[in-house]
């Protein structure tokens, strides 16, 4: 314990078993995320009414996150913005993950031609910088919530498809699966009883690992002005609006919402990492 402070911030409680720590971190991150989302619903939107007498206030006891140039309470705006960003991110990641799952399984299950086709499309999707691909798709679809969701899904299915394909191919060549075929089991029975139980946790973890990426990408797209419109103040919109007020010294408009976004993204990351540890039979009992 040479540096207790640094130790404490990295390992919540030294001395616990890894399983207990994993469960603790899982509960803590899930609880915090839930609390943020519930608070967003509970706080209501009365903080959003414009009140020019209290505009441009730095953080103070009555307005913990300060107020913006119209006197709106930034705490309210951040909580509502986070809720919107999280919902759009989760929806986009889920759509992308399902596409990835279907294509990955198709590549593994429908013969070498299908495999070649899917692998080629995965290569194609990965040949562009994510953001450039997303700008192209959002441009084609016409921006908005739908544009962001399609753009994020279209750029993230490839990683999931790749993982699912590799897993399914590995399972297919496993001895017990081969044996099962020899014993006369139908492909459907094998898929249901042998392959899916192994793929399901992998898919779940890959999906949750996508959440942080999807949320940051929504923020980035909205930030550059090609995602959500200012009528839907997600985190990206909040940050892009604050950019115009930076030079006047209103630092809290940019710094606090961004920090809140980092916190939420990190919490999803912690959630996914610990879930993976718990679901992986090799590490779950340590």
């Amino acid at each position: 314990m040479r540096s207790p402070l640094a130790l404490r911030c990295f390992v919540p409680a030294a001395g616990m078993s890894l399983r207990a720590k994993t469960l603790g971190a899982l509960a803590l991150s899930a609880g915090l995320l839930l609390a943020i989302l519930v608070m967003g619903a509970w706080i209501g939107d009365h903080g959003l009414s414009t009140d020019l007498e209290v505009r441009n206030l730095p953080p103070c006891p009555s307005h913990l996150f300060g107020t913006d140039w119209l006197g709106r309470d930034m705490l309210t705006r951040v909580l509502l913005g986070l809720r919107l960003s999280v919902f759009v991110g989760l929806a986009a990641a889920s759509v992308g993950a399902v596409i990835g799952l279907v294509l990955g399984l198709a590549a593994a299950g429908f013969g070498p031609k299908m495999d070649l086709l899917v692998t080629w499309f995965v290569d194609l999707a990965m040949s562009l910088p994510h953001l450039v691909f997303q700008i192209l798709i959002a441009f084609v679809v016409g921006g908005g919530t739908r544009g962001v969701m399609i753009a994020v899904a279209a750029t993230h299915w490839a990683t999931i498809a790749r993982i699912m394909r590799a897993e399914a191919l590995q399972l297919k060549s496993a001895d017990y699966v081969q044996l099962s075929y020899k014993l006369g089991r139908s492909p459907w029975w094998v898929a249901r009883r042998h392959v899916l139980p192994h793929l399901w946790p992998q898919f779940l973890v890959a999906l949750i690992l996508l959440f942080p990426h999807a949320i940051s990408h929504e923020a980035a797209l909205s930030f550059i002005g090609i995602g959500l419109t200012p009528h839907m103040p997600s985190m990206g919109i909040l940050l892009s609006e604050s950019l115009r007020h930076l030079s006047t010294g209103h630092w809290w408009l940019a710094v606090i919402p961004g920090a809140a976004l980092v916190l939420v993204v990190k919490l999803f990351d912690v959630l996914a990492e610990n879930l993976r540890r718990l679901l992986n039979p090799r590490t779950s009992q340590e």
Partner: protein, 325 residues
């Protein structure tokens, strides 16, 4: 090696062709009216007959495969069309802006490589110490931080509060980029480059740390220690040459994130490079420019990945002697 490069080039050409088809299909499916997109407000004052004549003249009523082959044929001879925003040929816009972005990307790339590698070596050599934990915590938080927000924080601190860095652009207001002095360019480059470099640091630091730990736990490191070598001696004589190659490879393979990050960093600092052009093309429906940038960024990423591969094969004596490819 030549055979390998030829194969790689063929693979890249096929990928680019696929990308051209994909972007063509995407843009054809989009609800954007090309006449409106090109003529802007003038389109609203035109009669339907005039529009029909233009559509006919531009070949908008031709079947899609014919339109694609015309477009692809022009791409092959280097005609990417004219950008409506800049009123210049697309290739000229990309060429001019590429040099502005290249300064930014190269300095960020070097910075993130050096800082990341240094932090990784420190953390790995002092495994379990407070320093290691702090570096890991730092990389861990950095990995979830959006680059554009970090750029805004840097702006607040250095430009607004301290006033030591310019608040925007690649050159002083009213001075063209080509005419700015080197000092002015560097001053305007510092914050965007720092912002962009921070994305890569976390990845390379954690990776380097892991590789160094593997080396330090190896039998040859144990043997060196038995002969009286210090930890830093092992790192210098045995560690560096073993971990440098994976780090360099990783760094070359990060061209994709570098380009994506440049889009955001340039947006925050109004830096007139390729990233800003991409955003403008998307926002203002400049289709030829957007298509040109899509294809260009794909080439950029492909070159990075190929370099990573080539460096690996060329430098690593194990592959060079045994592989023969």
């Amino acid at each position: 090696m030549l055979r390998y490069l030829a194969l790689k080039g063929l693979h890249g050409a096929v990928l680019l062709a696929g990308l051209a088809v994909l972007s063509f299909v995407l843009v054809s499916l989009s609800p954007i009216d090309p006449i409106r997109a090109y003529l802007g407000d003038a389109a609203t004052r035109m009669s339907p007959e005039q529009k029909a004549r233009i559509a006919d003249r531009w070949g908008l009523n031709d079947p899609a495969p014919l339109r694609f082959s015309k477009w692809a044929g022009r791409l092959l001879v280097g005609d990417f069309g004219v950008s409506r925003i800049f009123n210049k040929p697309v290739l000229q816009v990309i060429g001019e802006r590429f040099w502005v972005s290249l300064n930014l990307m190269v300095s960020a790339w070097l910075l993130s490589g050096l800082i990341g590698f240094g932090l990784g070596v420190l953390a790995g050599a002092r495994r379990g110490s407070g320093l290691d934990r702090c570096i890991r915590l730092y990389a861990y938080i950095l990995a979830s931080t959006p680059a554009f927000w970090l750029g805004m924080v840097l702006l607040v601190v250095f430009s607004v509060k301290l006033g030591v860095a310019p608040i925007c652009c690649a050159s002083p207001v009213g001075v063209a980029y080509a005419e700015a002095t080197l000092g002015e360019k560097v001053r305007h480059l510092a914050l965007p480059a720092l912002t962009l470099s921070i994305i890569g640091v976390a990845n390379i630091a954690l990776h380097t740390r892991q590789k160094l730990l593997e080396v330090l736990e190896s039998d040859f490191a144990l043997f060196a220690r038995a002969q009286g070598e210090t930890t830093w001696g092992i790192v210098r004589h045995h560690g560096l040459r073993n971990i440098l190659l994976p780090a360099v490879t990783l760094q070359f393979a990060s061209f994709s994130e570098l380009f994506g990050g440049a889009v955001l960093a340039e947006q925050v600092f109004s830096y007139p490079g390729l990233g800003e052009a991409t955003v403008l093309a998307g926002l203002r429906s400049d289709v030829p420019l957007l298509m040109g940038l899509v294809l260009f960024s794909a080439v950029f990423v492909f070159v990075g990945n190929t370099l990573a591969d080539v460096v690996y094969r060329w430098v690593d004596p194990r592959i060079r002697l045994g592989g023969g490819t």
